[in-house]
Amino acid sequence: MSTAVTGSAGTYRPTPLELERRGVRARRSRRSTLTALGSTLAFAVLLYVSVTNAPGWPRVQESFFDPDVAWEYLPDILRGLWLNLRVLAVAAVLTVVVALLLAVVRTLRGPVWLPLRLVATVYVDFFRGVPLIVLLYLVGFGVPALRFTDGRISSVVLGTAAIVLTYSAYVSEVFRAGIDTVHPSQRLGARSLGLSYAQSMRLVVLPQAVRRVTPPLLNDFVAMQKDVGLISLLGAVDAVRAAQIGALESFNFTPYVVAALLFVALSVPTARLADWVTARAARREQAGGVL
């Protein structure tokens, strides 16, 4: 807390009254921090005691939390997770590109663009409606059956394609909502300067729209981080598949717990980033609104 501020009027020093009030506020915030800590601790203890005293706990501990099994399969699962991360990176970039295209196409006006708009609308309606698992099977087993190529298409590629198809449909709607929230006056301002429709979209509307929808986009990214695990359904050996293999070999569920913890560890940084971005956006939009 700054005690002296230099401004146009020289130096400000808090009055004794203000110092006393700061003391009161600090004491109160210390008290509420302590209360929060205490109640959290009490809850954790209660949860721990009630779980470990459950009648089935020894069996559960044995088959879900076996440290030896966890250690044994950790390298395999980590190798699988590395595949998930690579799929995630490619899928995320492709999703953003396709989704932006879809969103822009859907906001185009004029009868000339009707066919394109129609295609984009059908795409979004269809791929948003199909369950991701069903789509994975359709793409994973249907596309190879078309025999476009002589060789085998990797299940990783097919799985990534299915994820991009579904997620681009979702994310395009987020982008479209963002574009719609940019006030028409911004478009008018850009067009009044002589910018074309495409230029005003690219230089004025989209930058504002993307900034506004970053928090929901990050939320979709967290969802995607987990859903890339579904490519294991097509046989790709990712973290989930590696855990499944481990579980079958060891007759123990611990590898699944390991995979779960790794996915959580992966999503926590993104979740915190989303919080931070949201808070920053809120601060910028509601300057002076502290209540």
């Binding site: 009027a9 400000y12 506020r25």
Partner: protein, 261 residues
């Protein structure tokens, strides 16, 4: 930092309702108010004038506890409301605030806007609140718009509805933050006429305004703020017609040159 004190007329010897003492406000490290003293007496109308950025709006928000203050004191009916142990929500329920941009709730009708606080904060029954709303709407001339949504009203009508909402809870002090600045020139009159009526009815009002002519006619006391300080204060006929501080003279000269007085 005391402002230049001038002999004050008998109008200032009233019971003090709102007493702002040495108010300091910094936004992060930017000082906005440097120790401002303003008092508002019972049934008194005090106008804050000054250029944009002089701290008028900030002063009003700080007084109503809508912004945390950096230093100084705000007393309402003698109670130190800047004391951190005071319940701020209760204090705010004793103020009425009208904003420059109306701040009506767009998802509620005019009647719902007006009855919200009486019902939810002050525990009035629906019938009581509706009766009171009807009375207020008649007074501000919007009875026929009771069930309309704010976006169906003109700016002047919206601001009159906002005033009705603010006074529905019978506040101790009505704070008006440049209530006509967002209005078309032809709609300013209807809002000012309403404020004038409220003043004549004896409401205690502290208002920030750019309407010098209005301040002169309606206010009992005028404070000229400059760069976060009260630069000159006194009865309107003195401050607005015969200011003694050079900065006030310069400010008024500019306003007169712009044809606004």
């Amino acid at each position: 930092m005391s402002a230049l004190s001038l002999p004050q007329g008998p109008t200032r010897d009233r019971d003090v309702v709102l007493d702002v003492r040495g108010l300091v406000k910094h936004y992060d490290d930017t000082p906005v108010l440097h120790g401002v003293d303003v008092t508002v007496g019972e049934h008194e109308v005090v106008a804050l004038i000054g250029s944009s950025g002089s701290g008028k709006s900030t002063l009003l928000r700080c007084a109503a506890l809508l912004e945390p203050i950096t230093d100084g004191q705000v007393l309402l009916d003698g109670q130190d409301i800047s004391d951190p142990t005071v319940d701020a929500d209760t204090v705010r329920s004793r103020f009425g605030v009208v904003f420059q941009g109306f701040n009506l709730f767009p998802h509620m009708t005019v009647r719902q806007n007006i009855t919200l606080a009486p019902r939810v904060v002050h525990g009035a029954s629906v019938a009581e609140a509706d009766a009171r709303a009807e009375e207020l709407l008649t007074r501000v001339g919007l009875l026929d718009k009771a069930d309309a949504y704010p976006d169906r009203l003109s700016g002047g009508q919206q601001q009159r509805a906002a005033i009705a909402r603010a006074i529905a809870v019978e506040p101790r002090v009505l704070l008006l933050d440049e209530v006509t600045s967002a209005l078309d020139p032809e709609l300013v009159g209807e809002v000012l006429a309403l404020v004038r009526e409220l003043a004549q009815d004896g409401l205690t009002i502290l208002m920030a305004t750019h309407e010098m002519g209005f301040a002169r006619r309606v206010a009992d006391h005028v404070c000229f703020l400059d760069q976060g300080r009260v630069c000159e204060e006194g009865p309107p006929e003195q401050v607005l017609a015969d200011p003694v501080v050079p900065r006030t003279q310069q400010f008024l000269r500019r306003i007169i040159d712009a044809g606004r007085l």
